[in-house]
Protein backbone atom coordinates (compact mmCIF):
# COMPACT_ATOMS: atom_id res chain seq x y z
CA UNK A 1 0.00 0.00 0.00
CA UNK A 2 2.60 2.52 1.13
CA UNK A 3 4.93 1.64 -1.73
CA UNK A 4 2.11 2.06 -4.19
CA UNK A 5 1.20 5.43 -2.78
CA UNK A 6 4.79 6.64 -2.91
CA UNK A 7 5.18 5.70 -6.51
CA UNK A 8 5.45 9.01 -8.34
CA UNK A 9 2.86 9.80 -10.95
CA UNK A 10 4.50 11.58 -13.83
CA UNK A 11 2.68 14.55 -15.21
CA UNK A 12 2.03 13.57 -18.78
CA UNK A 13 1.90 16.38 -21.25
CA UNK A 14 -1.07 16.27 -23.60
CA UNK A 15 -0.66 14.09 -26.64
CA UNK A 16 -2.88 13.84 -29.71
CA UNK A 17 -4.80 10.91 -28.19
CA UNK A 18 -5.78 13.00 -25.17
CA UNK A 19 -8.52 11.69 -22.86
CA UNK A 20 -10.42 14.94 -23.19
CA UNK A 21 -9.86 17.11 -26.22
CA UNK A 22 -11.59 20.47 -26.47
CA UNK A 23 -11.02 22.41 -29.66
CA UNK A 24 -12.23 26.01 -29.97
CA UNK A 25 -15.33 25.34 -27.91
CA UNK A 26 -17.68 28.29 -27.60
CA UNK A 27 -20.85 28.89 -25.63
CA UNK A 28 -23.23 31.78 -25.77
CA UNK A 29 -26.69 32.25 -24.33
CA UNK A 30 -28.38 34.52 -26.84
CA UNK A 31 -26.15 37.58 -27.04
CA UNK A 32 -24.31 36.76 -23.84
CA UNK A 33 -20.98 35.15 -24.44
CA UNK A 34 -20.26 32.63 -21.70
CA UNK A 35 -17.14 31.14 -23.27
CA UNK A 36 -15.22 32.90 -26.04
CA UNK A 37 -13.04 30.09 -27.26
CA UNK A 38 -11.40 27.39 -25.24
CA UNK A 39 -9.07 24.62 -26.29
CA UNK A 40 -7.57 22.15 -23.90
CA UNK A 41 -6.28 18.62 -23.75
CA UNK A 42 -6.35 16.37 -20.72
CA UNK A 43 -3.99 13.43 -20.85
CA UNK A 44 -4.82 9.97 -19.58
CA UNK A 45 -4.33 9.90 -15.80
CA UNK A 46 -3.60 13.61 -15.58
CA UNK A 47 -4.89 15.91 -12.84
CA UNK A 48 -5.74 19.15 -14.59
CA UNK A 49 -7.29 22.18 -12.93
CA UNK A 50 -9.15 25.04 -14.54
CA UNK A 51 -8.68 28.05 -12.31
CA UNK A 52 -10.66 31.25 -12.66
CA UNK A 53 -12.80 33.84 -10.89
CA UNK A 54 -16.46 33.05 -10.37
CA UNK A 55 -18.57 33.71 -13.42
CA UNK A 56 -15.72 33.13 -15.89
CA UNK A 57 -17.49 30.19 -17.51
CA UNK A 58 -15.30 27.45 -16.11
CA UNK A 59 -18.30 25.51 -14.79
CA UNK A 60 -20.02 25.88 -18.15
CA UNK A 61 -16.93 24.41 -19.77
CA UNK A 62 -17.12 21.43 -17.43
CA UNK A 63 -20.85 20.97 -18.12
CA UNK A 64 -20.14 20.96 -21.85
CA UNK A 65 -17.53 18.23 -21.42
CA UNK A 66 -20.02 16.29 -19.27
CA UNK A 67 -22.59 16.54 -22.04
CA UNK A 68 -25.03 18.43 -19.82
CA UNK A 69 -24.75 21.70 -21.74
CA UNK A 70 -24.51 21.86 -25.50
CA UNK A 71 -21.61 23.82 -26.97
CA UNK A 72 -22.46 26.62 -29.39
CA UNK A 73 -19.46 25.74 -31.52
CA UNK A 74 -16.19 23.84 -31.64
CA UNK A 75 -15.45 20.20 -30.92
CA UNK A 76 -15.40 18.36 -27.62
CA UNK A 77 -14.27 14.74 -27.55
CA UNK A 78 -13.88 12.34 -24.66
CA UNK A 79 -11.79 9.24 -25.32
CA UNK A 80 -11.78 10.06 -29.00
CA UNK A 81 -15.54 10.25 -29.51
CA UNK A 82 -17.48 13.51 -29.74
CA UNK A 83 -19.64 14.41 -26.75
CA UNK A 84 -23.38 14.24 -27.52
CA UNK A 85 -24.77 13.80 -24.02
CA UNK A 86 -23.98 12.36 -20.60
CA UNK A 87 -22.11 9.11 -20.81
CA UNK A 88 -21.01 6.23 -18.71
CA UNK A 89 -17.26 6.78 -18.54
CA UNK A 90 -17.68 10.10 -16.72
CA UNK A 91 -18.13 10.57 -12.99
CA UNK A 92 -19.19 13.98 -11.75
CA UNK A 93 -18.81 15.76 -8.45
CA UNK A 94 -20.71 18.98 -7.96
CA UNK A 95 -20.23 22.05 -5.78
CA UNK A 96 -22.78 20.73 -3.28
CA UNK A 97 -22.95 16.99 -2.54
CA UNK A 98 -26.52 16.74 -3.99
CA UNK A 99 -27.27 13.57 -2.08
CA UNK A 100 -30.90 12.44 -2.06
CA UNK A 101 -32.12 13.00 1.52
CA UNK A 102 -34.40 9.93 1.52
CA UNK A 103 -31.64 7.52 0.54
CA UNK A 104 -29.03 6.09 2.85
CA UNK A 105 -25.41 6.89 2.07
CA UNK A 106 -24.99 3.46 0.48
CA UNK A 107 -28.11 3.87 -1.67
CA UNK A 108 -26.94 7.31 -2.73
CA UNK A 109 -23.61 5.88 -3.82
CA UNK A 110 -25.45 3.19 -5.80
CA UNK A 111 -27.73 5.69 -7.60
CA UNK A 112 -25.60 5.77 -10.81
CA UNK A 113 -25.76 1.96 -10.90
CA UNK A 114 -29.56 2.14 -10.92
CA UNK A 115 -29.53 4.85 -13.57
CA UNK A 116 -27.22 2.75 -15.73
CA UNK A 117 -29.44 -0.32 -15.12
CA UNK A 118 -26.53 -2.32 -13.75
CA UNK A 119 -26.83 -4.93 -11.05
CA UNK A 120 -27.00 -3.50 -7.55
CA UNK A 121 -25.93 -6.82 -6.14
CA UNK A 122 -22.73 -6.82 -8.17
CA UNK A 123 -21.84 -3.26 -7.29
CA UNK A 124 -22.75 -3.20 -3.63
CA UNK A 125 -19.41 -4.65 -2.45
CA UNK A 126 -17.64 -2.03 -4.55
CA UNK A 127 -19.79 0.70 -2.98
CA UNK A 128 -18.84 -0.52 0.49
CA UNK A 129 -15.20 -0.67 -0.53
CA UNK A 130 -15.34 2.92 -1.79
CA UNK A 131 -17.03 4.07 1.42
CA UNK A 132 -14.30 2.34 3.42
CA UNK A 133 -11.66 4.00 1.28
CA UNK A 134 -13.32 7.38 1.94
CA UNK A 135 -13.45 6.44 5.66
CA UNK A 136 -17.23 6.74 5.92
CA UNK A 137 -18.13 3.03 5.83
CA UNK A 138 -19.55 3.33 9.37
CA UNK A 139 -22.20 5.61 7.91
CA UNK A 140 -23.31 3.41 5.01
CA UNK A 141 -26.84 2.96 6.35
CA UNK A 142 -27.24 6.49 7.67
CA UNK A 143 -29.20 9.26 6.00
CA UNK A 144 -27.27 12.22 4.54
CA UNK A 145 -28.60 14.64 7.16
CA UNK A 146 -26.73 12.68 9.82
CA UNK A 147 -23.40 13.44 8.11
CA UNK A 148 -21.18 16.50 8.25
CA UNK A 149 -20.54 18.58 5.14
CA UNK A 150 -17.16 17.01 4.50
CA UNK A 151 -18.55 13.49 4.88
CA UNK A 152 -21.37 14.25 2.46
CA UNK A 153 -18.87 15.39 -0.14
CA UNK A 154 -16.86 12.19 0.45
CA UNK A 155 -20.05 10.23 -0.26
CA UNK A 156 -20.54 12.28 -3.44
CA UNK A 157 -17.02 11.36 -4.55
CA UNK A 158 -17.78 7.68 -3.90
CA UNK A 159 -20.94 8.06 -5.99
CA UNK A 160 -18.90 9.55 -8.83
CA UNK A 161 -16.53 6.57 -8.72
CA UNK A 162 -19.04 3.72 -8.28
CA UNK A 163 -19.44 2.87 -11.98
CA UNK A 164 -15.68 2.97 -12.46
CA UNK A 165 -15.52 5.95 -14.81
CA UNK A 166 -12.20 6.76 -16.42
CA UNK A 167 -12.74 10.51 -16.16
CA UNK A 168 -13.66 12.49 -13.06
CA UNK A 169 -15.15 15.95 -13.57
CA UNK A 170 -15.20 18.07 -10.44
CA UNK A 171 -17.00 21.40 -10.25
CA UNK A 172 -15.59 23.34 -7.27
CA UNK A 173 -16.27 20.30 -5.08
CA UNK A 174 -14.78 21.70 -1.89
CA UNK A 175 -15.85 25.32 -2.11
CA UNK A 176 -18.72 24.87 0.36
CA UNK A 177 -16.42 23.40 3.02
CA UNK A 178 -14.48 25.21 5.74
CA UNK A 179 -10.78 25.80 5.14
CA UNK A 180 -9.51 22.98 7.37
CA UNK A 181 -11.89 20.36 5.98
CA UNK A 182 -11.05 21.65 2.54
CA UNK A 183 -7.33 20.93 2.89
CA UNK A 184 -8.12 17.53 4.35
CA UNK A 185 -10.45 16.72 1.45
CA UNK A 186 -7.81 17.79 -1.05
CA UNK A 187 -5.38 15.27 0.41
CA UNK A 188 -8.11 12.61 0.42
CA UNK A 189 -8.84 13.29 -3.22
CA UNK A 190 -5.17 12.94 -4.16
CA UNK A 191 -5.00 9.67 -2.27
CA UNK A 192 -8.07 8.36 -4.10
CA UNK A 193 -6.78 9.63 -7.42
CA UNK A 194 -3.46 7.84 -6.97
CA UNK A 195 -5.25 4.68 -5.90
CA UNK A 196 -7.63 4.55 -8.86
CA UNK A 197 -5.65 6.43 -11.51
CA UNK A 198 -8.47 8.41 -13.04
CA UNK A 199 -8.07 11.42 -15.26
CA UNK A 200 -9.35 14.42 -13.31
CA UNK A 201 -10.59 17.76 -14.56
CA UNK A 202 -10.95 19.97 -11.53
CA UNK A 203 -12.62 23.37 -11.63
CA UNK A 204 -11.84 25.77 -8.80
CA UNK A 205 -11.50 29.42 -7.90
CA UNK A 206 -8.92 28.70 -5.21
CA UNK A 207 -5.37 29.37 -6.39
CA UNK A 208 -3.79 27.38 -3.58
CA UNK A 209 -6.09 24.43 -4.13
CA UNK A 210 -5.31 24.35 -7.86
CA UNK A 211 -1.56 24.58 -7.24
CA UNK A 212 -1.58 21.95 -4.52
CA UNK A 213 -3.64 19.30 -6.31
CA UNK A 214 -2.77 19.56 -9.98
CA UNK A 215 -0.22 18.38 -12.48
CA UNK A 216 -1.14 21.33 -14.64
CA UNK A 217 -3.27 24.44 -14.11
CA UNK A 218 -5.12 26.37 -16.79
CA UNK A 219 -6.11 29.92 -15.89
CA UNK A 220 -9.37 31.14 -17.31
CA UNK A 221 -10.03 34.87 -17.59
CA UNK A 222 -13.38 36.57 -17.33
CA UNK A 223 -13.27 38.91 -20.33
CA UNK A 224 -12.85 37.32 -22.73
CA UNK A 225 -13.78 33.95 -21.22
CA UNK A 226 -10.89 31.94 -22.49
CA UNK A 227 -7.71 30.25 -21.27
CA UNK A 228 -5.16 32.97 -20.55
CA UNK A 229 -2.30 31.02 -18.97
CA UNK A 230 -1.01 27.53 -18.40
CA UNK A 231 1.32 26.35 -15.65
CA UNK A 232 2.87 22.99 -14.98
CA UNK A 233 3.14 22.37 -11.24
CA UNK A 234 6.63 21.10 -10.51
CA UNK A 235 5.95 19.60 -7.10
CA UNK A 236 6.73 15.95 -6.44
CA UNK A 237 4.02 13.34 -5.84
CA UNK A 238 2.60 12.37 -3.47
CA UNK A 239 1.86 15.85 -2.26
CA UNK A 240 2.06 16.53 1.44
CA UNK A 241 0.34 19.34 3.32
CA UNK A 242 3.72 20.86 4.35
CA UNK A 243 4.50 21.43 0.69
CA UNK A 244 2.07 24.35 0.93
CA UNK A 245 4.79 26.21 2.80
CA UNK A 246 7.57 25.44 0.33
CA UNK A 247 9.12 28.13 -1.83
CA UNK A 248 8.31 26.18 -4.97
CA UNK A 249 4.61 26.09 -4.08
CA UNK A 250 4.52 29.78 -3.29
CA UNK A 251 6.23 30.60 -6.55
CA UNK A 252 3.45 28.75 -8.39
CA UNK A 253 0.78 30.55 -6.39
CA UNK A 254 2.38 33.93 -7.20
CA UNK A 255 2.60 33.05 -10.87
CA UNK A 256 -1.03 31.97 -11.03
CA UNK A 257 -2.20 35.03 -9.14
CA UNK A 258 -0.34 37.29 -11.57
CA UNK A 259 -1.95 35.51 -14.51
CA UNK A 260 -5.40 36.08 -13.02
CA UNK A 261 -4.67 39.72 -12.24
CA UNK A 262 -3.35 40.27 -15.75
CA UNK A 263 -6.57 38.87 -17.20
CA UNK A 264 -8.58 41.26 -15.02
CA UNK A 265 -6.55 44.25 -16.08
CA UNK A 266 -7.09 43.42 -19.75
Amino acid sequence: MAARLNEPIVAVSPRPEAHVAVRSARKSYGDVEAIREVSLALAEGEFLSVLGPSGCGKSTLLMMIAGLVEASGGDIAVAGTPVRGPRREIGMVFQSPVLLPWRTVLDNVLLPIEMLKLSRRVYEPRARELLAMAKIDDFASRLPRELSGGMRQRAAICRALIHDPSLLLMDEPFSALDAITRDEMGLELLRIWQLYRKSVLFVTHSIREAAFLSDRVLVMGRRPATIVAETKIALPRPRRIDMMESEGFNAHVRELRRAIEASHAG
Binding site: M63, A66, G67, L68, G85, P86, R87, R88, I90, M92, F94, Q95, S96, V98, L100, P101, W102, L111, P112, E114, M115, L116, K135, I136, D138, F139, R142, L143, R145, E146, L147, S148, G149, G150, M151, H163, I180, T181, E184
Partner: protein, 277 residues
Protein backbone atom coordinates in the same frame (compact mmCIF):
# COMPACT_ATOMS: atom_id res chain seq x y z
CA UNK B 1 -9.99 9.76 12.17
CA UNK B 2 -10.89 13.23 10.87
CA UNK B 3 -12.56 15.54 13.35
CA UNK B 4 -15.81 15.92 11.41
CA UNK B 5 -16.39 12.16 11.36
CA UNK B 6 -15.73 11.87 15.09
CA UNK B 7 -18.19 14.68 15.79
CA UNK B 8 -20.88 13.13 13.61
CA UNK B 9 -20.44 9.76 15.29
CA UNK B 10 -20.83 11.37 18.68
CA UNK B 11 -23.97 13.19 17.52
CA UNK B 12 -25.44 10.02 16.05
CA UNK B 13 -25.00 8.19 19.34
CA UNK B 14 -27.26 10.65 21.16
CA UNK B 15 -30.74 9.16 21.44
CA UNK B 16 -33.66 11.04 19.96
CA UNK B 17 -35.91 11.98 22.90
CA UNK B 18 -38.85 14.07 21.72
CA UNK B 19 -41.42 11.62 23.12
CA UNK B 20 -41.76 13.15 26.57
CA UNK B 21 -41.98 16.64 25.12
CA UNK B 22 -44.74 15.54 22.74
CA UNK B 23 -46.77 14.30 25.71
CA UNK B 24 -46.16 17.61 27.45
CA UNK B 25 -47.26 19.46 24.32
CA UNK B 26 -50.51 17.50 24.27
CA UNK B 27 -51.26 18.12 27.96
CA UNK B 28 -51.96 21.83 27.48
CA UNK B 29 -54.66 21.73 24.80
CA UNK B 30 -56.19 18.63 26.43
CA UNK B 31 -56.40 20.33 29.79
CA UNK B 32 -57.88 23.52 28.39
CA UNK B 33 -60.34 21.57 26.23
CA UNK B 34 -61.51 19.49 29.17
CA UNK B 35 -61.79 22.60 31.34
CA UNK B 36 -63.96 24.31 28.74
CA UNK B 37 -66.29 21.30 28.57
CA UNK B 38 -66.67 21.33 32.37
CA UNK B 39 -67.36 25.07 32.32
CA UNK B 40 -69.95 24.57 29.58
CA UNK B 41 -71.63 21.81 31.57
CA UNK B 42 -71.65 23.93 34.72
CA UNK B 43 -73.04 27.01 32.98
CA UNK B 44 -75.81 25.03 31.28
CA UNK B 45 -76.87 23.50 34.57
CA UNK B 46 -76.34 26.58 36.70
CA UNK B 47 -78.17 28.99 34.39
CA UNK B 48 -80.84 26.47 33.40
CA UNK B 49 -80.26 26.84 29.65
CA UNK B 50 -82.82 24.89 27.66
CA UNK B 51 -81.30 21.89 25.83
CA UNK B 52 -82.99 22.98 22.58
CA UNK B 53 -80.81 26.10 22.61
CA UNK B 54 -77.64 24.66 24.03
CA UNK B 55 -77.46 21.13 25.38
CA UNK B 56 -74.76 20.44 27.95
CA UNK B 57 -71.91 18.11 26.91
CA UNK B 58 -73.41 15.30 28.99
CA UNK B 59 -76.65 15.46 26.96
CA UNK B 60 -74.67 15.33 23.72
CA UNK B 61 -72.73 12.35 25.01
CA UNK B 62 -75.98 10.69 26.05
CA UNK B 63 -77.43 11.23 22.57
CA UNK B 64 -74.28 9.77 21.02
CA UNK B 65 -74.56 6.64 23.10
CA UNK B 66 -78.34 6.12 23.09
CA UNK B 67 -78.79 6.84 19.36
CA UNK B 68 -75.66 5.07 18.39
CA UNK B 69 -77.12 3.03 15.54
CA UNK B 70 -78.95 6.00 13.95
CA UNK B 71 -75.77 8.03 14.01
CA UNK B 72 -73.57 5.29 12.62
CA UNK B 73 -76.06 4.27 9.94
CA UNK B 74 -75.83 7.80 8.66
CA UNK B 75 -72.10 8.19 9.20
CA UNK B 76 -71.03 5.27 7.00
CA UNK B 77 -72.46 6.51 3.69
CA UNK B 78 -70.96 9.94 4.29
CA UNK B 79 -67.58 8.50 5.18
CA UNK B 80 -67.69 6.19 2.19
CA UNK B 81 -68.37 9.10 -0.15
CA UNK B 82 -65.70 11.21 1.51
CA UNK B 83 -63.02 8.56 1.17
CA UNK B 84 -64.03 7.80 -2.40
CA UNK B 85 -63.94 11.48 -3.39
CA UNK B 86 -60.63 11.88 -1.59
CA UNK B 87 -59.04 8.91 -3.38
CA UNK B 88 -60.34 10.17 -6.72
CA UNK B 89 -58.96 13.63 -6.14
CA UNK B 90 -55.58 12.27 -5.01
CA UNK B 91 -55.29 10.06 -8.10
CA UNK B 92 -56.68 12.73 -10.40
CA UNK B 93 -54.61 15.49 -8.79
CA UNK B 94 -51.36 13.55 -9.12
CA UNK B 95 -52.17 12.60 -12.70
CA UNK B 96 -53.02 16.16 -13.65
CA UNK B 97 -49.92 17.45 -11.85
CA UNK B 98 -47.77 15.10 -13.93
CA UNK B 99 -49.39 16.48 -17.08
CA UNK B 100 -48.74 20.03 -15.83
CA UNK B 101 -45.11 19.14 -15.14
CA UNK B 102 -44.39 17.43 -18.45
CA UNK B 103 -46.83 18.84 -21.00
CA UNK B 104 -46.41 22.38 -22.16
CA UNK B 105 -49.94 22.45 -23.60
CA UNK B 106 -51.50 21.51 -20.27
CA UNK B 107 -49.23 23.82 -18.30
CA UNK B 108 -49.77 26.85 -20.53
CA UNK B 109 -53.31 26.15 -21.71
CA UNK B 110 -55.37 24.31 -19.10
CA UNK B 111 -53.63 25.16 -15.87
CA UNK B 112 -54.44 28.93 -15.92
CA UNK B 113 -58.09 28.16 -16.70
CA UNK B 114 -58.28 25.80 -13.73
CA UNK B 115 -56.62 28.37 -11.48
CA UNK B 116 -59.04 31.11 -12.54
CA UNK B 117 -62.02 28.75 -12.19
CA UNK B 118 -61.20 28.52 -8.49
CA UNK B 119 -62.86 31.91 -7.91
CA UNK B 120 -66.21 30.08 -8.37
CA UNK B 121 -67.41 29.14 -4.87
CA UNK B 122 -67.83 25.45 -5.64
CA UNK B 123 -70.52 24.95 -3.04
CA UNK B 124 -72.77 27.22 -5.08
CA UNK B 125 -72.68 24.62 -7.84
CA UNK B 126 -74.28 21.97 -5.62
CA UNK B 127 -77.89 22.73 -6.70
CA UNK B 128 -76.79 22.64 -10.33
CA UNK B 129 -75.37 19.16 -9.85
CA UNK B 130 -78.70 18.07 -8.38
CA UNK B 131 -80.39 19.32 -11.53
CA UNK B 132 -77.94 17.42 -13.67
CA UNK B 133 -77.30 14.24 -11.74
CA UNK B 134 -80.22 13.99 -9.31
CA UNK B 135 -80.12 13.68 -5.55
CA UNK B 136 -78.08 10.49 -5.44
CA UNK B 137 -74.51 9.57 -4.74
CA UNK B 138 -73.22 10.94 -8.04
CA UNK B 139 -73.91 14.53 -7.03
CA UNK B 140 -72.28 14.07 -3.63
CA UNK B 141 -69.25 12.45 -5.11
CA UNK B 142 -68.82 15.02 -7.86
CA UNK B 143 -69.13 17.99 -5.54
CA UNK B 144 -66.71 16.53 -3.01
CA UNK B 145 -64.28 15.65 -5.79
CA UNK B 146 -64.56 19.09 -7.36
CA UNK B 147 -63.74 20.79 -4.07
CA UNK B 148 -60.88 18.51 -3.02
CA UNK B 149 -59.25 18.01 -6.42
CA UNK B 150 -57.75 21.46 -6.85
CA UNK B 151 -55.56 21.77 -3.73
CA UNK B 152 -54.28 18.26 -4.38
CA UNK B 153 -53.33 19.18 -7.95
CA UNK B 154 -51.62 22.43 -6.96
CA UNK B 155 -49.64 20.79 -4.19
CA UNK B 156 -48.58 17.87 -6.35
CA UNK B 157 -47.59 20.14 -9.24
CA UNK B 158 -45.52 22.31 -6.92
CA UNK B 159 -43.98 19.19 -5.43
CA UNK B 160 -42.97 17.75 -8.79
CA UNK B 161 -41.54 21.05 -9.95
CA UNK B 162 -39.65 22.26 -6.89
CA UNK B 163 -36.71 20.01 -7.46
CA UNK B 164 -33.27 21.44 -7.00
CA UNK B 165 -31.83 21.93 -10.50
CA UNK B 166 -28.49 20.62 -9.25
CA UNK B 167 -30.12 17.32 -8.30
CA UNK B 168 -31.60 16.91 -11.77
CA UNK B 169 -28.25 17.81 -13.31
CA UNK B 170 -26.57 15.22 -11.10
CA UNK B 171 -29.04 12.53 -12.17
CA UNK B 172 -28.62 13.47 -15.83
CA UNK B 173 -24.84 13.32 -15.51
CA UNK B 174 -25.24 9.69 -14.49
CA UNK B 175 -27.29 9.11 -17.66
CA UNK B 176 -30.64 9.21 -15.83
CA UNK B 177 -33.65 9.26 -18.16
CA UNK B 178 -36.72 11.47 -17.67
CA UNK B 179 -38.67 8.49 -16.35
CA UNK B 180 -35.88 7.51 -13.93
CA UNK B 181 -35.61 11.11 -12.76
CA UNK B 182 -39.36 11.19 -12.13
CA UNK B 183 -39.45 7.91 -10.19
CA UNK B 184 -36.24 8.27 -8.25
CA UNK B 185 -36.17 12.03 -7.68
CA UNK B 186 -39.30 14.03 -8.47
CA UNK B 187 -41.76 11.62 -6.85
CA UNK B 188 -39.99 11.14 -3.49
CA UNK B 189 -39.07 14.81 -3.52
CA UNK B 190 -42.77 15.73 -3.88
CA UNK B 191 -43.89 13.56 -0.93
CA UNK B 192 -44.11 16.40 1.64
CA UNK B 193 -46.19 18.41 -0.82
CA UNK B 194 -48.36 15.41 -1.71
CA UNK B 195 -49.18 14.84 1.94
CA UNK B 196 -49.80 18.55 2.46
CA UNK B 197 -52.27 18.36 -0.43
CA UNK B 198 -53.91 15.23 0.97
CA UNK B 199 -54.48 16.86 4.35
CA UNK B 200 -56.29 19.78 2.75
CA UNK B 201 -58.07 17.48 0.33
CA UNK B 202 -59.56 15.20 2.99
CA UNK B 203 -61.05 18.07 4.99
CA UNK B 204 -62.52 19.60 1.83
CA UNK B 205 -63.94 16.25 0.72
CA UNK B 206 -65.86 16.06 4.01
CA UNK B 207 -67.25 19.55 3.44
CA UNK B 208 -68.28 18.63 -0.11
CA UNK B 209 -70.15 15.53 1.00
CA UNK B 210 -71.91 17.27 3.90
CA UNK B 211 -73.01 20.23 1.74
CA UNK B 212 -74.40 17.94 -0.94
CA UNK B 213 -76.30 16.04 1.78
CA UNK B 214 -77.68 19.36 3.08
CA UNK B 215 -78.94 20.27 -0.36
CA UNK B 216 -80.59 17.00 -1.22
CA UNK B 217 -80.17 13.58 0.26
CA UNK B 218 -82.17 10.98 2.14
CA UNK B 219 -79.30 9.75 4.25
CA UNK B 220 -75.86 10.64 5.47
CA UNK B 221 -74.62 12.61 8.42
CA UNK B 222 -75.33 15.93 6.66
CA UNK B 223 -78.90 14.84 6.16
CA UNK B 224 -79.14 13.85 9.83
CA UNK B 225 -77.80 17.26 10.96
CA UNK B 226 -80.35 19.06 8.80
CA UNK B 227 -83.16 16.74 9.86
CA UNK B 228 -82.45 17.06 13.58
CA UNK B 229 -82.36 20.82 13.12
CA UNK B 230 -85.81 20.69 11.63
CA UNK B 231 -87.01 18.54 14.55
CA UNK B 232 -85.39 20.93 17.05
CA UNK B 233 -83.50 17.91 18.40
CA UNK B 234 -80.40 19.92 19.23
CA UNK B 235 -78.66 17.20 21.29
CA UNK B 236 -78.92 14.82 18.32
CA UNK B 237 -77.69 17.53 15.98
CA UNK B 238 -74.67 18.25 18.12
CA UNK B 239 -74.02 14.55 18.58
CA UNK B 240 -73.97 14.20 14.80
CA UNK B 241 -71.62 17.19 14.49
CA UNK B 242 -69.36 15.72 17.17
CA UNK B 243 -69.33 12.35 15.49
CA UNK B 244 -68.55 13.95 12.13
CA UNK B 245 -65.70 15.94 13.66
CA UNK B 246 -64.27 12.85 15.29
CA UNK B 247 -64.47 10.97 12.00
CA UNK B 248 -62.70 13.87 10.27
CA UNK B 249 -60.04 13.83 12.95
CA UNK B 250 -59.47 10.11 12.44
CA UNK B 251 -59.16 10.50 8.66
CA UNK B 252 -56.75 13.41 9.05
CA UNK B 253 -54.80 11.48 11.68
CA UNK B 254 -54.45 8.48 9.37
CA UNK B 255 -52.93 10.70 6.70
CA UNK B 256 -50.60 12.36 9.20
CA UNK B 257 -49.56 8.94 10.46
CA UNK B 258 -48.88 7.69 6.93
CA UNK B 259 -46.91 10.86 6.30
CA UNK B 260 -44.59 10.15 9.23
CA UNK B 261 -43.97 6.66 7.88
CA UNK B 262 -43.39 7.70 4.28
CA UNK B 263 -41.32 10.82 4.88
CA UNK B 264 -38.91 9.16 7.28
CA UNK B 265 -36.00 11.32 6.18
CA UNK B 266 -37.35 14.56 7.59
CA UNK B 267 -37.39 15.42 11.29
CA UNK B 268 -40.95 15.56 12.66
CA UNK B 269 -41.00 19.36 12.92
CA UNK B 270 -40.30 19.67 9.17
CA UNK B 271 -43.12 17.31 8.33
CA UNK B 272 -45.58 19.38 10.31
CA UNK B 273 -44.41 22.60 8.70
CA UNK B 274 -44.86 21.09 5.23
CA UNK B 275 -48.31 19.77 6.13
CA UNK B 276 -49.53 23.25 6.96
CA UNK B 277 -49.21 24.33 3.32
Amino acid sequence: MPADIAAAQAAARQPAAPRRRRLGDAAWPLGIGLGSLLLWEALCRGLGVRPILLPPPSAILFAMVSRYSLLFDNLWPSLYMTVLAFLLSVAGGIFFAILITYSKIVRKGFYPIIVVSQVIPKISIAPLFIVWFGTGATSSLLLAFLISFFPMTINAAIGFQTVDEEVVKMARSFTGSRWQIFCKIRLPNAMPHLFGGMKISITLAIIGVIVSEFVASQRGIGYLIKLSGGLLDTPLMMAAITELSLAGLVLYGLIAWAERLVIYWQPASHVEAAGGG
